[in-house]
Symmetry: C2
Subunit: 291 residues, 2 copies
């Protein structure tokens, strides 16, 4: 018997078959188009396999309140065709197994906690910096939910004194995502991040914003591990720069040896690499089975 | 049988005897002086009563890791005489009952959840704005801890464009506490907040900083209720101003009816009034008994 995993992103879907130890047996990737076409490919991929459970880590916002009439829906996404799409309902129509459902970043945090960089810990955050900025969190051993799910990519940040860029967030302009997402880099500098690898000032400014957000996440959530991935983090100069600025922003206030002396082990890349999301969806499937 | 409660603040201690429903039977308040003198008064107050358990909500930082050699200690406080004070150990020396221990603000959050404004909810935050700014949180039904406990009063905030005040935080200068605590108000305007009640610009600026922090707490923790108390909140013009600015900062991004339409029920004063802290300590005692 297998577990099914769906990493449902705004630009692409990754579907995979895996086992209870997080090993991926088969995987397929296809672009996110209409719900009809995309879901047809999802169902076709999973149909041949005897599945025990399926986990979905989805782009959002999503409705995660179990007692809600729209539980399992993608809700107010800017992707018009997916607004109010009943993701869990559609999967249940085809597969009579437990379905785990959460945000893509909460899934990745769960995967990293089960098999990756936060293995054995009771808390962690998983940050992805790419087309958008998303953050998932585990607190006291549980995925973090509340009124809704967190939307930490949109926190307000302090502007760098030399920075006049307006930001790209349609809601907030210069929130974190508005200042530091992939599209923000491209609009600010006129080129994609991958083409700016040798421009030190690009990554210095990027680190300033990401580190500021991470310092606030640390002060608010006190996670035992900070994991940061996504396309923008492929720039290798970025992570040491972020660690440096986080230390500067906290300025010795959080007196824990991990933060004062072991920053290299505290803020890290995903242990599961690019598989954090899809392994996280496997972990959601496993969790749904145990419920 | 009774429960004992200690609200241990940096300037005063409140000790109380109460029951399992949060009713206070007796209470006493005295100034925080040396640990020896202060603890002598604590022990004297409780000694006559048959106690089942004692709860302590303490100023900090405190060590809350159960597996730590210094669990139950006040750690690196600026109050020199209290540095590395073994609070739980000292109480255990005198009373052979379960001792609950957490930060003062986590205690208040717990009290508000059990008997106050967040009754029946799975999540809330409790903010106090006074000599310092502290925040306690309940997430997924549990008090929030991680690497340490949160220190949300020190998050970095965006400076108001017309504000040139340097801030009073010895670690960060112009973090939230540095810009918006009682001492920050006094230093910025040359008078205590209570003497500035009719100065509209004072409370407009105060609301700007507090609302910004609350917007970030909402984006990061997604609490079902935001409770805000402390001496500074006695200024009645402040709360409506804060709600207004939180709506502005979020700008429709968090699409939940409570935030879009019911802000007056979402950001509220403590349901327990000035008893939030001491009732919270009672709730910690109750929790210690149930463990």
């Amino acid at each position: 018997m297998y577990l099914g995993a769906i990493e449902a992103g705004g630009t692409k879907f990754v579907c995979a078959i895996g086992d209870h130890d997080g090993n991926i047996k088969e995987r397929v990737t296809f672009p996110t188009t209409t719900p009809e076409e995309t879901m047809r490919r999802v169902v076709e991929f999973f149909r041949p396999y005897p599945l025990e459970a399926i986990g979905i880590g989805s782009f959002g916002p999503v409705d995660l309140r179990r007692d809600s009439a729209t539980y399992g829906y993608i809700t107010s996404t800017p992707k018009q065709q997916w607004v109010n799409f009943n993701f869990v309902g559609e999967m249940k129509r085809h597969f009579s197994v437990p379905i785990g459902f959460d945000t893509d970043v909460n899934a990745a945090a769960l995967g990293e906690r089960r098999w990756g960089a936060a293995k054995g810990l009771q808390s962690c955050i998983y940050i992805t910096v790419g087309t958008g900025i998303g953050v998932g969190a585990i607190v006291e051993g549980n995925l973090l939910h509340g009124l809704m799910h967190p939307e930490m990519g949109h926190i307000l940040v302090r502007r760098h004194p030399q920075d006049t860029f307006a930001g790209v967030c349609p809601y907030h302009g210069d929130c974190l995502e508005g200042m530091a997402s992939g599209p923000a880099i491209e609009k600010r500098w006129g080129k994609k991040g991958a083409e700016l690898a040798d421009r030190k000032e690009v990554w210095e400014l990027e680190a300033f914003y990401l580190a500021q957000a991470i310092a606030n996440y640390i002060l608010i959530l006190s996670p035992e591990k900070v994991i940061i991935g996504g396309g923008v983090m492929k720039q290798e100069q970025l992570l040491p720069n972020i660690r440096h600025h986080v230390m500067e922003f906290l300025n010795g206030y959080v007196q824990h040896e991990v933060i004062l002396q072991k920053m290299d082990e505290y803020i890290v890349l995903p242990g599961l690499g690019d598989n954090a999301g899809v392994c996280g969806a496997l972990a959601l499937a496993k969790q749904a089975l145990d419920e």
